[in-house]
Amino acid sequence: MFILAMTVSCKSPKGNGSLDMQIGYSINEKPLTCDTMVYHNAAGNTFLINEIQWFLSNMQLCDEQGRCVDLGDVFYLDTNIPESHFLHINSLPVGIYKKLRFTFGLCDADNTTGRFSNPPERDMFWPEPLGGGYHYMKLNGKYIDNDGILVPMNIHLGRGQNADLNEFYDNSFSVEIPIDLKITESGDSHLTLTMNIDNWFCNPHVYDFNTYGSAIMQNQEAQNILKENGNDVFNATTSEPMKTISEIGQELFKKAAPKPHFMTWENFKNTLSNITKTNKRP
């Protein structure tokens, strides 16, 4: 114990190591497949996801004594850019780390308009009248509404505001996940951070797309529900082997074989066609 304490308290007495980190998504207990797979949430909504774009910031690894190492200021993750989900972090002090800590989105101090001048980060901008800065996350997809029609669905999280657009709220939140990560000089350490999409829509609040509609940038109630639901959205593990970009690409981009208990896109469209025959759209 004493040796361990010495290890983490001294400034890398045994040198530095590196960390390979992968960010992934799970939904309905399977890896996310964009565009083609059909999912269900706690409210009973049936939906698909086209893309997820989000910011993760102020990421740190902390040891048992609470001393933390910065892993980077801001990371932009985008399911349209598979390589954005692989981070290689150098110069980490060798040691054992017990906590992964980060901010989901960008806290107010970091969320300044004009911070990102180039796409794709630039295109996350959150308009000045709504508080400025950047979207924390854009989760775009479609769901079947109460009339049985496949309609757009946007879970866009960012700075909240009151109805008069003169008071704004920081909806970013801190995430702390217990881990047991050993950084060694051999550099074969890895960490997988997973966003469990199901949990955005439950615990403590069941989030129903029919209630909150397709657009929530100006709905602080919905923003707050998702912020509170964010408490258990993320988990991390050091035990799973790293996937290649190609493998994660397969998961994210339509190539994964449909799972038996999921409805395929073709089946989904057939079902939808039957539904819409009896529900004339406006």
């Binding site: 001048s117 180039n118 009248p129 400025g132 757009p152 940038m217 406006p282």
Partner: protein, 322 residues
């Protein structure tokens, strides 16, 4: 030993400073692309075609040559054809996209983003049977035989031997130099000019999801290009499966007709479409979340305000006087 080292360096500097014998060193003047507020720092200038003042000047002359780009890209209409630029009139497969701030378009050119570089776009326009429809070898031959062009190419590229690749490069440089960032809205962003209340209300509508919700695809504020340069299915037709590039809204008042097929001849028609004419399809962009109401449902007053804001994006600084 140290003296030998210093002497060697001095000798090398002397050698490098000498002009090549029998030929004047080629040193064109670098062209500095401006960096307007909230414009990207990343651009699409290729490593093998850096912008130079001589290159831009040559490109401009080529652009306005007979049977060249200006045949259809009229300067007085913000480098587009003008209100008559319909598919029927032009005989093309698509309407023009604005030649505005293209130096910062890093996601492909054309309505489908199908052309990678401006250089390629020049070649495509010259050879397309529905556009210039020229024989590039004849173009080169004509330029080579002219009195002025060999010298201009030499100044721009260091050689008076003209090739079509150099024609592409020069015109691409000129098009990249077409920077539009001096509209009333730009001056508002810089605190130099105030918008009217209607214009401000229009900007509020433009940038709010519960308003006209234009910003997700057309930028604004922190994206001063007024486009993401990405493609979307915006619900033009029922069951449409096609995606088209969101054009910049800068100089939108000058660039009718609108949409890839020029179906709308006025800005009012475009606003009406997004307000109540959006068509449902399964493939519609998820960002078109007002589709089930047929659009964003603006009142007449809101339409007027939105249009008032869009008119603040007009920049005539590179255009002839009205």
């Amino acid at each position: 030993m140290r003296r030998v080292g210093i002497f060697s360096i001095l000798l090398l500097l002397v050698i490098l400073s000498c002009k090549p014998t029998g030929e004047e060193a080629f040193r064109p003047t670098p062209y500095e692309l401006p960096s307007p507020l909230f414009f990207p720092s990343a651009n699409n200038i290729p490593e093998d075609n850096p912008m130079t003042k001589e290159g831009v000047r040559l490109g401009e002359k080529l652009f306005f040559e007979d049977r060249s780009c200006a045949l259809c890209h009229h300067k007085e209409h913000s480098f587009e054809f003008g209100p008559d630029g319909t598919l029927e009139h032009l005989g093309t497969h698509h309407t023009m996209l604005p030649l505005i701030n293209l130096a910062w378009n890093t996601t492909g050119l054309g309505w489908k983003g199908q052309v990678s570089t401006l250089e390629e776009m020049v070649l495509a326009a010259y050879t397309d049977p529905t556009e210039i429809n020229a024989d590039t070898s004849e173009v080169v031959k004509r330029l080579q035989q002219s009195e002025k062009y060999p010298e201009l190419f030499k100044k721009a590229f260091g050689s008076d031997e003209i090739t079509f690749v150099l024609v592409e490069k020069a015109i691409a440089q000129y098009v990249r130099s077409l920077v539009f960032a001096d509209s009333k809205f730009d001056r508002y962003l810089q605190g130099e000019e105030q918008l009217t209340q209607d214009e401000l209300n229009g900007y509020l509508l433009f940038t709010t999801e519960n308003g006209a919700d234009c910003f997700h695809c057309h930028g604004g504020g922190a994206n001063a290009l007024f486009t993401t340069n990405l493609r979307y299915n915006n619900g033009l037709d029922a069951d449409s499966q096609e995606e088209f590039k969101a054009p910049t809204l800068r100089n939108i008042a000058l660039t009718a007709p609108y949409m890839h097929d020029g179906r709308f001849s006025t800005l009012d028609e475009v606003i009406d479409f997004y307000s109540e004419g959006v068509q449902y399809s399964e493939q519609i962009s998820p960002l078109m979340h007002h589709v089930m109401q047929g659009g964003v449902q603006l009142t007449d007053q809101e339409k007027t305000q939105l249009k008032a804001f869009l008119l603040t994006l007009t920049d005539r600084s590179l255009l002839p006087n009205e």
